[in-house]
Subunit: 112 residues, 2 copies
Amino acid sequence: MDATRHGQIAVIFASHRTRVDAAGYAEASAAMDALAARQPGYRGVDSARGADGFGITVSYWADDAAAIAWRDHPGHASIRDVGRARWYDSYSVAVARVERGYRWTLDESAAA
Amino acid sequence: MDATRHGQIAVIFASHRTRVDAAGYAEASAAMDALAARQPGYRGVDSARGADGFGITVSYWADDAAAIAWRDHPGHASIRDVGRARWYDSYSVAVARVERGYRWTLDESAAA
């Protein structure tokens, strides 16, 4: 994560996948990532999902208006309906404002 | 996630694992989760890591003081040194204040 995320909005999406339709989910997930990346105010996304089906995706936005616009985007809203019907058995969303942050990488550490 | 997380501090830890010492990492990770859960102001944790080695852990705290106290806890600080030496090749931390949130589960939806 960029250390300059200060002030950005983090949308923390935690979900548990059903065991059905892995191919359809993967396709939709990639399409949503690509669509999100084209929205105004998009600042990046991190995503991880374990073998137990539990996953976390954090998308970052320049401000609250950008995060809300993405929530209300018609393409995003329609896929959410499919998600509830097919791909998820539970999820939670937390919208949070970044107050500080930092990053560390092994290479930079070794070079310092 | 509990819908009452409003006002809590979310510490978003995103990391990429090296391929070494899976057993040592798993043991330390479980020990840290247990230690965190005993700290004042602890409000929960979500964690996911994919087969590619990238993982996200979000811990929730009652307020900023609790999050900082956990960051500075001696047991946590010492394990961080081991993490940098052995388990991670990069990580980032973003500390964010939750402004809103909600949750959805299939069962509750079906019951509604």
